[in-house]
């Protein structure tokens, strides 16, 4: 993990409170799907973690939602301003070849799955990308990789099928070999409890302080001998096997 100063290349409002932030990629280390960056935002004490959505040699892209003071300040940053960023943080999704895989995303969960889908595509996987959002405005088609089968759903039926993305997912023939999911905790919980016969990998979110594995603030309980054990989302995660999570 490194700490770099990166210039903002783009900080664009996608719709409502959602933004796409592109920064220069000044990192020597390679990022893998599932990794996050930890951004210092002047005006708040702790850094803010964001999954990497787009990754190239030249730039890194994240998608964020304005939910508090930190992201409010971030949303006002302009092209040319610089940010201090830690990365790559956390572990990454296991990636296989020539498999039939399902990606299930809700809300900002789309971010790590975009990066993941582009890598899965390179490795000749057959991808079914289930993408749910509240309404049409929150389906960010412009940043989705091409050549992938998308199944969209919105709560109000304004785009794709009407309903919750997990319910839609269940109506499809389930012969996927691997399932990946990211998004709201309720969605991740449902996907994790859905099947124990095939691997389910989820990207967890949590309040974080250090982002470096030092403070044990962001832990989640994982099944281990005895009553389970608290593992760090920032270091041992954010990617976990769904069946190993003890949901509190």
């Amino acid at each position: 993990m490194n700490s770099e100063i990166c210039k903002i290349l783009k900080n664009k409002n996608l719709s409502d409170d959602f933004y796409l932030l592109k920064i220069e990629n000044n990192f020597k280390e390679v990022f893998l799907p599932g990794n996050f960056i930890h951004i210092k935002i002047e005006g708040v004490f702790l850094r803010r973690p964001f999954s990497v959505a787009i990754y190239t040699k030249k730039f890194i892209g994240i998608i964020y939602k304005k939910i508090g003071l930190g992201t409010e300040i971030l949303s006002k940053k302009r092209k040319g301003e610089s940010l201090n960023i830690l990365g790559p943080c956390g572990n990454s999704f296991p990636i296989f070849e020539n498999k039939k895989v399902a990606l299930i995303s809700g809300g900002t969960g789309i971010a790590p799955l975009i990066f993941l889908s582009s890598e899965l595509k390179k490795r000749k996987n057959k991808i079914y990308f289930f993408y749910g959002a509240r309404n049409k405005k929150l389906i960010f088609s412009e940043i989705l990789p091409s050549g992938i089968d998308y199944i969209f759903s919105t709560d109000d039926g304004s785009f794709g099928q009407k309903g919750n993305i997990f319910d839609i997912f269940k109506t499809y023939k389930d012969d996927y070999e691997i399932i990946y999911a990211a998004g709201p905790e309720q969605l991740l919980k449902k996907v994790s409890l859905y099947s124990s016969k095939k691997p389910v990998y989820i990207s967890l979110e949590n309040y974080m302080a250090c982002g470096m594995g030092l403070c044990y603030g962001c832990v989640v309980k994982i099944k281990e001998e005895g009553d389970g054990k608290y593992k760090r989302v920032c270091k041992d995660g954010p990617i976990f096997e769904g069946e190993k999570i003890i949901w509190e």
Binding site: N2, L214, C215, V219, V220, K235
Partner: protein, 306 residues
């Protein structure tokens, strides 16, 4: 003039720099963090170790506030036996000086820990006397000068490893506690541990009752160091709210012989480099030979009793 000016002596312990990583905010120092220059760290204080493994507290464990954060981690650690077998050898490879933080729920647990640590090559033991976990009543040892004296004295009789007392700022009179620790034979004092505080998460409708750290507690830490310096002769490690380089200078001026960096690293990834730079600049600017010359410079007791 460079970094060699920053060498210090804490009792008999020689440190290359006065930067000590504070307990609980640097894990066991084993994470691979490329932007940290480990040569600039004088010593690491480990996350607190207990006799048995501790699971730690359920979520929520952290919450942010103005210029700081509340934590309620609950001393999650794998226990002393696992620590010695699997963690300590790795710390030795990476750090020049190792301070191991320990805590016990009973006097006996402290003594058992000391007996185990006596066989290990470490540079100091930091007694975490400022966590609210002691005995059935969940006391905080360092909130009572009698209890502080009693525990430190018992431990001192069991070991020749240098001892540091980590004290809480949540007391009526910190001087009494520091005096009690010194009279019982403690070698050093580190202040402050976190300040008791509470945050309310309106979204989740939950409270986070824990310890406050970050820039907002610096004045409290400075005041404790200032007060303690006036009444003890042993070295003080100043901790609390060091988030930029010049914060460290302030701690020396009021009486610290070394400083601890905690959650400052979370908000400022360059804090170690900044502290080194600020201290060297300050020594050069004031034509001081070493940090000892500036320790307590702004304390009314500078020179007296020392």
């Amino acid at each position: 003039m460079g970094i060699e000016k920053l060498r210090i002596k804490l009792g008999h312990i020689e440190l290359k720099t006065p930067i000590i990583m504070a307990s609980g905010t640097f894990g066991y120092g084993l994470e691979k963090i490329n932007f940290i220059d480990y040569k600039k760290i004088g010593a690491i204080t480990t996350k607190t170790i207990t006799y048995y493994p501790w699971e730690g507290n359920p979520q929520p464990r952290i919450y942010e506030t103005y210029s700081g954060m509340i934590n309620s981690i609950g001393l999650q650690n794998p226990g002393v036996f696992y620590f010695i077998k699997n963690i300590l050898p790795k710390i030795r490879k990476k750090f020049n000086k190792i301070f191991v933080s320990i805590s016990g729920r009973t006097e006996n647990e402290f003594i058992q820990l000391i007996k185990i640590m006596n066989k290990e090559k470490i540079d100091a033991l930091e007694l975490n006397l400022s966590c609210p976990n002691f005995e059935k009543e969940q006391k905080m040892i360092s909130q009572s000068s009698d209890l502080t004296y009693k525990i430190v004295k018992k431990i001192k009789n069991e070991t020749s490893i240098p001892l540091i007392a980590k004290l809480s700022p949540n007391v009526t009179n910190i001087k009494e506690i520091a005096i009690a620790a010194e009279e019982a034979g403690i070698d050093m004092i580190s202040v402050i541990n976190t300040v008791k505080g509470l945050c309310v998460d309106l979204k989740k409708m939950k409270i986070i009752d824990g310890g406050l750290s970050g820039g907002c507690i610096k004045p409290i830490g400075l005041k404790c160091v200032y007060d303690i310096y006036k009444v003890v002769k042993i070295p003080i490690i100043g901790i609390g709210g060091i988030i930029k380089g010049t914060d460290a200078i302030e701690y020396f001026l009021v009486g610290a012989s070394a400083i601890g960096i905690g959650s400052g690293l979370f908000t400022n990834s360059q804090i170690i480099d900044e502290v080194i730079k600020s201290l060297i600049n300050f020594l050069n600017k004031t034509k001081s030979k070493n940090l000892k010359e500036i320790t307590g410079l702004l304390n009314e007791k500078k020179g007296k009793n020392r």
